[in-house]
């Protein structure tokens, strides 16, 4: 079990947004993008606000009237998944934030779920000439013409 005071920061190459209670996260470095269900999105909002781990679990348990142990276990699983994916990292810098109001009221508790989509490179490849994805860019002075 991790320390209650542990906080996290979102990766520099990661951008995310909660839309009507669902999260959309994009990892610019890998091209992998993710969706988060409603409880996962609430955790994302709390994580963005700089809340420590213990406070995040306590907040969601209180908002949804769920045993804190259950929430804490699920939250740690989510944190592990997001850390392994490179979306967040432990970073106890700055002052802990305050609890933001949920952008969308939660209707019930489902364990937080992060779904990864790996198809972007393939999908982008269908739209030529694939700007930004050329493996070897032309260099000035080169006599090679674009293929």
């Amino acid at each position: 079990m991790r320390d209650d005071s542990l906080r996290f920061s979102i990766g520099e190459e990661v951008t995310g947004k909660v839309i009507d209670g669902e999260g959309v996260i994009i990892d610019l470095a890998t091209g992998i993008y993710y969706s988060l269900n409603s409880v996962g999105s609430r955790f994302w909002e709390l994580l963005e606000a700089g809340l420590p781990l213990g406070r995040m679990a306590e907040t969601v348990a209180g908002e949804l009237d769920v045993p804190e142990e259950t929430v804490r276990r699920d939250l740690e699983d989510l944190i592990d998944t997001m850390e392994n994916a490179g979306l967040i990292e432990a970073a106890n810098t700055g002052e802990p934030g305050t609890v933001p109001a949920p952008s969308t009221p939660l209707s019930g508790y489902d364990p937080p779920k992060l779904t990864a989509y790996h198809d972007m490179a393939d999908l982008l490849a269908l739209d030529p000439p694939i700007p930004g994805l050329m493996p070897d860019a032309w260099k000035p002075g080169s006599t090679d013409k674009p293929k």
């Binding site: 610019l28 032309w138 000035p140």
Partner: protein
């Protein structure tokens, strides 16, 4: 954010404009081409020195042409000056973009250079080099060899610098198609192969207005609505794709520019009356091929699902787009309009019918 207005050109732009002026003077009058177009609500004056260069670059932008009477009375918010180096014999003040701008990122077949402090961004490919002075704003460049222009440069001229110009006006380029009927726009999102082009072209054939089938400028207007702006009137078609659109086949053969895998088609020449520069966005649609015989069906989807289909390619494919503002813009749009998955059947004529049904179902503009 739009850079602060400077009173004078940067030295780089000044040198380039001086070279362009020389090329313009050396070009016979009947080979000088000027086009005044509407770009994201801004008037842009495009001047091209050289017949062959104009014939390659201007058709993709011709649908945005402002009538001559209006053009004469409007003030240009952007000037674009391009010359054909081989036709005019005018050498540029530098050969490599790296001599004047720090370069690094690749984009398509070329390199991007940026000097944010000076408000300059440039793009160089084997055939061409162009720099945008974001403060003036003015875009100036040359093409070394018109025959070396890639299909990308012909079909999507001035990209990515044109997108930088839009971003400076808080209009975010997104990877989407847009068609409209009676002033009500359908933004069609999704990655390549999802059916954006098929939908947009089927609707064009059915009499809808056409604004683009791959890139659209997305503006959040002061009245709280969203407006889509057209960039290009071109489309890429795979051979298999084209077979499903038989009305386009003869045009592809006569005017398409072929690559190994796709054909570039100038749609404005085919249906010149069906292009508009911008349209209010009233629906967000996510095409997906199902192949069912029952035809095309629209299924409501959640706003987040729509953003999940739209945002990744808009952010990952367009290197000048800042990720957060792009995601924010799409996230702001999706909850304000009806969002549907458009499940495409084998009968493409069902697509415009389906969109017509959505217009009827949602009554007046949402």
């Amino acid at each position: 954010m739009r850079p602060a207005i400077r009173a004078q050109s940067s030295p780089v732009i000044w040198e380039l404009r001086r070279a362009f002026a020389m090329a313009w003077r050396r070009t016979p009058t009947d080979q000088r081409h000027e086009l005044t177009i509407e770009l994201g609500g801004t008037t842009a004056r495009v001047a091209v020195a050289g017949d062959r260069l104009a014939s390659r670059l201007l058709p993709a932008l011709a649908h945005l042409k402002i009538p001559d009477t209006a053009a004469r009375s409007s003030t240009a918010g952007l000037t674009v000056e391009l010359w054909d180096r081989s036709a005019t014999g005018v050498d540029p003040p530098f050969d490599d973009l790296a001599e004047v701008l720090p370069t690094g990122r690749s984009f398509g077949f070329g390199l991007l250079g940026e000097a944010p402090g000076e408000g300059l961004v440039g793009y160089q490919t084997p055939a061409a080099c162009t720099i945008l002075d974001r403060a003036l704003p003015a875009m100036v460049g040359w093409v070394s060899d018109v025959e070396c222009l890639s299909p990308f440069e012909i079909g999507k001229p001035l990209q990515p610098l044109l997108f930088a110009f839009f971003l400076d006006r808080d209009i975010v380029p997104v990877h989407a198609a847009l068609v409209a009927r009676e002033g009500r726009g359908f933004l069609l999102g999704g990655p390549g192969g999802s059916g954006k082009s098929t939908c947009a072209l089927s609707c064009l054939h059915a009499g809808f207005d056409f604004l683009g089938d791959d890139y659209i400028g997305l503006e959040h207007t002061a009245d709280g609505f969203f407006r889509g702006h057209s960039f290009y009137s071109t489309s890429w078609l795979e051979p298999g794709h084209a077979r499903r659109l038989p009305w386009l086949l003869s045009h592809i053969e006569s005017m398409g520019i072929a690559t190994d895998e796709k054909h570039l088609v100038h749609l404005h020449a085919i249906a010149p009356g069906r292009f508009v520069a911008s349209a209010k966005i009233d629906f967000l649609l996510l095409p997906v091929f199902r192949g069912q015989e029952a035809g095309t069906a629209a299924r409501p989807v959640r706003p987040a699902e729509a953003v999940l289909r739209l945002a990744p390619s808009s952010i990952l494919q367009l290197p000048l787009n800042a990720p957060e503002p792009t995601l924010d813009r799409l996230a702001a749009l999706a909850p304000t309009v009806p969002c549907y998955a458009l499940e495409l059947g084998t009968d493409l004529s069902g697509i415009p019918h389906c969109l017509g049904g959505l217009l009827a179902r949602h009554g007046e503009a949402s």
